[in-house]
Symmetry: C2
Subunit: 153 residues, 2 copies
DNA sequence: TTGATATCATTTGCATACGAATGAATTTGA
DNA sequence: TCAAATTCATTCGTATGCAAATGATATCAA
């Protein structure tokens, strides 16, 4: 085999490599689609709340009063994002805000009675949403998938 | 055991059920976090393009000229979203638009020379991004995870 | 004590993401 | 054929999501 042949093969290999890139098989692309599907299932069951809004209420229900930023870190939202979510929940009377007595930087967030009612009503529905999202998998597959997905975060 | 006891147990069971809801273990919540992590890894490797923009270029590189909506369906974006993405790629000279000669409703999208150069340069980096995203998993786990993730879409 | 750091929150700007409404062009079907 | 339905694209409104800049407060350290 000549040197030219080797060079040609090398070039072809590189080009094949590039032509071979399959977007549909990349983890980021599928992750984005899986997330979209989940959001769509969520919306079909809970029309008046988004997943981030639900997450904020569920976490407040779980831990009680917290500061806005602390809540954000508990539900994986940066300060700018959590502010918008909390503002909208406040506008709807589901949470209420107050100032921290000691640390004047902190903005405390609490569920209102209406917020507590809402989250109590929605949690059983949220279970259905989880179930429907995972419906394409068998019970065993669900366990495997959740274990591996958790490793990716 | 009295009837009151049974009723009490039932009520407690329901409340325990609700108190037991663990947001951090729900597939939607973890999916959102996994997606966030991927986007962050992507941004660390490719600063001047978002994942959706990259997806549009990669798909155009793959299939060649298509209509805007067709491209959207290939990369899982609705019409409103894909318009914004393509507008920004056009503004940067990475794609060009033209009207379909026969079907005057259609807006055709093509890579420019600059767009082709960009995607050719970025595809190897995109492979690194996929690899880093999946780095917490072993090779075997990657195969399992990708198989199950694909079943969810 | 006080100056440097760090934390909490807000604001701005940009980029998805999608429902709903609209308009133009095409296709279908009675 | 022609009215109804469909498709393609655009626009508007709302909601994440994040980087960067800013201001107020709190903490740390020399």
């Amino acid at each position: 085999m000549s040197g030219e042949d080797n060079l040609l093969k090398l070039v072809e290999a590189e080009e094949a490599d590039e032509n071979d890139y399959r977007l549909q098989e990349q983890v980021g692309f599928i992750l984005r689609k899986a997330h979209q599907r989940h959001v769509s299932i969520f919306a079909a069951h809970i029309a008046d709340l988004t997943p981030p809004q639900f997450a904020a209420l569920a976490k407040l229900h779980d831990v009680g009063e917290t500061s806005q930023n602390q809540l954000g870190s508990l539900i994986a939202m940066d300060a700018a994002t959590v502010k918008g979510v909390i503002d909208r929940l406040k506008a709807r009377g589901l949470v209420e805000l107050s100032k921290h007595e000691v640390d004047k930087r902190r903005l405390l967030v609490n569920l209102t009675a209406k917020g507590r009612d809402a989250i109590a009503r929605l949690i059983p529905i949220a279970r259905d949403i989880t179930e429907e999202t995972l419906a394409p998998l068998s019970a065993k597959e669900v366990a495997t998938f959740m274990r591996l997905l958790a490793k990716l975060t």
